[in-house]
Amino acid sequence: MATLNDLAAEVLERLEEDPGNPQFWSYEEVYDALVEAAREATLISGEPQFRQTLVSYQLQANTVLHSVPPDCVALLRIQADRTLKKTALWDLDQTNHYWQSVLAQTPEYWFPFGLTQFGIAPQLYAPVVVQLSYIALPFPVHRPYTGSEIFDFQTEFLELFVTMAVHLLTFKEATQEFIASSLQLNVSAARLQELARFATKKNDLRFARSVGARHPVTPVEKR
């Protein structure tokens, strides 16, 4: 697995810097650019490995709203003893005005409440541990980065982060180099598009009953 530091050296070389003694850019700046590139890739693709992240999470009793884990970008799926059905707050209100008064042993529905919270229905008599699947934040650590953080993308996509970081870093040159680097941005965007396509394909296959066959997802799942 490549680390931030591994890619940073490559970025500096492309910027005509000596990785051993960079002058115009610091390693801290390069790490920031690489993290920005990785996070943008996650926002665009939402996949591949990130979506598979599973954590155990305790749903509290007598509580509708819960906070997502700190490294959660978007919650996708919740599983208790069975998969919870994803719905919307508005749908719950339209179905049963008194859904917030209902209590049960296990939740049946979940709904997003923005990107930082989610709700469950019905509320619980007692805490229940569930599994969450979500798009996870790349590099969920405080700045400044040490350089040893792992770049959790497949090897064939790593170069796109280098080219994108090079483009972002040339901004401060404010010269022809910056304008010329827009080409690099286009190259990166094309690679990101490939990543997104590949991620979509994997997503469909994730629900496959047999290898290579698509599972017919319901409109609710598709939403």
Partner: protein
């Protein structure tokens, strides 16, 4: 809880604008309540100018923001309020170019930009929500929404005021109420059944029928960020969008009058910021934000009756 602080974002802004900044670990401890003249003997550069704000012990529970002071001979120092051990982080983003008389940018200006950018992002995306309780006073129809509310999305009654609580109040418009009953303003009831936000000040909302007793409701709303920020504040916008806030600040910094003006790069920065907003829209389609769904669009049918009745 977000990881990214205001300092994190403005450090990146400083790098992009070629403004010197400091980030080093102390090579000797700092005593509390004693003037400290930071410089090479502590492992870092000297302080830039009087009035500059710096952060000591960044990333620890002892972190504090200090303002640089000047002694009669022009020496610059800070006075920590608590002691800080060796290897504690010292970081500051002073935007020192032109200080103190002709600065290109100031720290206060950049903090303002970031506060504005964060709220612009939240207003555009409404990706963060909150709840809070609101007391209802009898015979008072209109109320001020919470200070950090952009728009109220849902209102529910609270027990013990309502035996059926919690239940949602339906949102209507005053036009719908007018079409249903031209004398609706005269109606009173113990617990409101509807609320509206139109044709009054954008920061207010009202109830129907007019409450005849005191009670309480819970407001569910899209949240904004504080109007001002400090160096150690964490962002309200989720971490994954922090880079786009940086571009929003750079856009403002390069758009101002004077030597710093650079329309071409300012435009680029603006496009990056707006790109972040578009990405947030995409993400919220995944997360299925209620109001982004077509079914949320209300038909123009006046139906001020609860569906369950």
């Amino acid at each position: 809880m977000n990881l990214t602080t205001v300092l994190d974002v403005l450090e990146q802004v400083s790098d992009a604008l070629l403004e010197p900044r400091a980030a080093f670990r102390l090579t000797q401890p700092l005593p509390a309540n004693t003037a400290v003249y930071l410089g090479p003997s502590y492992g870092g550069p000297p302080l830039d100018y009087a009035g500059e704000q710096i952060v000591l012990d960044y990333g620890s529970g002892q972190a504090e923001v200090l303002t640089v002071q000047s002694d009669p001979s022009g020496g610059l120092y800070v006075i920590p309020s608590v002691s800080h051990g060796m290897s504690a982080w010292v970081r500051w983003v002073g935007f020192p170019t032109g200080q103190p008389s002709m600065p290109l940018w100031t720290q206060a200006e950049m903090l303002d930009y970031l506060a504005q950018v964060q709220n612009e992002f939240l207003l555009a995306t409404r990706c963060v929500y909150a709840t809070s309780d609101q007391s209802i006073t009898h015979m008072v129809r209109y109320y001020q929404q919470p200070a950090n509310a952009i728009r109220i999305e849902r209102v529910t009654t609270k027990s013990p005021y309502d035996p059926k609580a919690p239940r949602p109040l339906l949102e209507v418009s005053q036009t719908e109420l007018d079409l249903t009953d031209a004398r609706w303003e005269a109606a009173t009831g113990e617990i409101p059944s509807l609320f509206f936000q139109d044709q009054i000040d954008t920061a207010r909302f009202g109830f129907y029928p007019l409450p005849s007793v005191d009670s309480e409701v819970t407001l569910w709303y899209a949240a904004s960020a504080p109007a001002s920020v400090s160096w150690l504040d964490t962002l309200v916008v989720p971490d994954i969008f922090s880079a786009y806030l940086k571009w929003g600040v750079i856009h403002r910094a390069l758009s101002k009058d004077g030597e710093a003006r650079d329309p071409r790069r300012a435009q680029y920065a603006r496009q990056r910021f707006e790109y972040g907003i578009r990405l947030a829209y995409n993400l919220m389609d995944i997360a299925e934000l209620p109001e982004s769904r077509p079914t949320r669009r209300r038909s123009y049918t006046p139906l001020p009756v609860e569906a369950s009745q």
